[in-house]
């Protein structure tokens, strides 16, 4: 079933929508959650919460052309939240590692309080990513949006982990310069 039809089921409040969406995207959403949580049962829980949240969000949202992105965004948010709730437990590690890596993109001292307008920042990020070569953009998104591990990105792209690490390092460095250029030097 295509995304438009699934969204139509949501809009009609037909619970078949959940079955369809689970069949079509469940595996990928679970994988995304598991990448962040490193815990299969928690990932499953996160996947179910995603369906619930999607059920409560459609309508008013009608993500016909981008259903997976819509669901994945919910999953990622839930998983990152769950990850942080674990606080100092070991399994919060991926969150901490990604945070540490992204600190390198941030101009200025990282402890400076700064209220950055999320929408504006997203626009700048988007613009930077759009200008990247496709392969680098893909790598960045897999690592920081889908929270894939470095070995997993390497596996997915058929390249070495070293290349992934190096490329990400450069993309982060480039992003930092870009943010400075765009006035985010706080």
């Amino acid at each position: 079933m295509d995304d438009e039809a699934i969204v139509a089921l949501f809009l009609q409040r037909d619970e078949g929508a959940l079955r369809e969406v689970s069949g079509k995207y469940g595996g990928r959403l679970r994988t995304l959650a598991n990448s962040i949580l490193q815990d299969a049962s928690a990932a499953e829980e996160c996947e179910n919460d995603t369906y619930l949240q999607a059920w409560n969000s459609i309508p008013p949202h009608q993500p016909g052309g981008y259903l997976f992105a819509f669901l994945a965004k919910i999953t990622r948010h839930l998983a990152l939240d769950a990850c942080r709730r674990r606080g100092r437990k070991k399994r919060a590690g991926i969150c901490a590692r990604l945070t540490e890596e992204l600190e390198q993109c941030i101009p200025g001292p990282s402890d400076t309080p700064c209220q950055v307008d999320g929408i504006l920042l997203a626009g700048v990020l988007e613009s930077y990513l759009q200008d990247l070569p496709e392969e680098k953009r893909y790598m960045f998104l897999r690592r920081y949006w889908y929270c894939d591990s470095v070995p997993s990105v390497a596996k997915r792209m058929g390249i070495t982990q070293a290349k992934v690490k190096t490329t990400l390092h450069r993309v982060r460095a480039g992003l930092k310069e870009y943010l400075i250029k765009e006035g985010y030097d706080v």
């Binding site: 992105a69 919060a92 945070t99 540490e100 990282s110 070495t160 490329t167 480039g174 310069e177």
Partner: protein
Amino acid sequence: MRGQELLDKLELLSPELIQSAAGDPPGVEETKGQRRRGLFWSFMGGCAAGAVCLSLALLPLFLGQGDSVEPGGSSAAPLAGTPSPSPSPSPSPKAPGIEPVYVEWTQDLPLEKYFAHEEQETDREKLQKLPRTFFGYDEGESRSFSSRQEELEEEGDIPSIDSAWDFTCHAWYDSGSTPKSLSMRWEWYEVSDQIANMNTEEIGVQIAGRSNFISPESYIRLNRTVVRRDGAEITVLGQMDSQKFFVFQKDGAWRLIRATAGVPQEMLLQVLDHFFQHPADFRNFSKEAGDIYEWAELETCPEAFAGYYPQQKDSELVPPLAGAEVLLLNGEPVRIQCVYDSDTVTGTLLQWTVYKETPDNQPDPISRLRAAGDLHDFSQESVKDYFRQGPAGTGRNIIYFTWDGCRVEAQFAEKASPEDVIWPILETMREQSRAWGLSSRWSKACGDMEAGKAPVDPAVSMAVFPKIREEYFFGDLRDATLESVEAYLSRPGIRESGRFYFMWEGYYAYAQLTPAAEAAELYGFIVRVRGD
């Protein structure tokens, strides 16, 4: 703004961008075979490719043709040592609207002529359409021949290329000892202080009698220019100012040559000419002759790099290991990658990687640019300076250095202070290293004692040790007298500690001490160590 905030803000990216990374990598028409290759290379980790940071988006392998030869193809004898080629499918028709232009090869045909008919825009599109595989990756077992560049040059299997270009070479096997495919790669990089702008160039060659995955048809179908040479057809793709591909079948094997835009023309022509004229002898790449790289968990080889990576017992600043993997070259450790549990001890060490360099196992070229020198020469001030003066864009929290012939990359938390965290950990490791240097001599001494080559002292025996304990520290053995030893043994808790900590020849060391040890016995030990 913090990293966490940025991580969260990524959520606001457009759905289109998010979906663009939801599936396969760009341009990939992934097959099961490619997935397995990916798995293989994940298994191999970073061991492939000398300059590991280089852009490796290389291309595929080809089908063999047996006796069936394409129009213009060679019907010469099969490649030496090559497995019997499998029948080839008939050539695919060209893509609609693409009519090849035939160019006759001459001895002095300049590179421009190869690409004279390629059209910038349409060719870019064509390149986008190519199945994206990564040159040098195949299925099955692999062996490395990267360390045999000279031999291979002497055998005529590869051309002689300027040594400034890093060479790597891998062979893949099915069941037999003769490879089914070979890949060679020369890579060059120029590291500047703006690492984001690092220049890299590469030229790669893939040779195979047959292919498990990508057909050269992919290229032939898209080509515009075909250079006819000695009865063979060299299909060309690319532009002068962009990447370039040459595909041809000769002597029973397919060859693909790919070069990035900046590869010097004469070098590219040299490589093309060499591989046109010299069939690589697959018998020179037998499985038994190649090097084996494999990853192992640290638990399976606990002695690997012992003492060369921080552990929690070394310092309270070091988090517990969350995982460690060891890369083995023919069973010998050549790299260890340690990841630390940064949630247990926060704000300190995140990752620590040690390399014993080989052509297939090298740290990022950035590590040379940013190398802080040798650990043994570090001081607190030099470490502070290193982090204060780091070139733009290299990350504030990674330090690269050499240590006992190895290269180390240590990544600390962004907030880790050079004075309070980084230097103390590095210093601990250095002192321990010095101790290890001594301990190996002690071990030899112990071995000598056990072998009857040296007198055995019943009261004192030497042991390997990790670090000094201040409160039990005796001082330098050179200054020891019977009186100072008596005074030492009379200190509270010394005998119970079972350890005699001292300094000798600039190293910290300890010996095991029995509770009943007499001052004279201990002094006798000291005299023997000093060689009085």
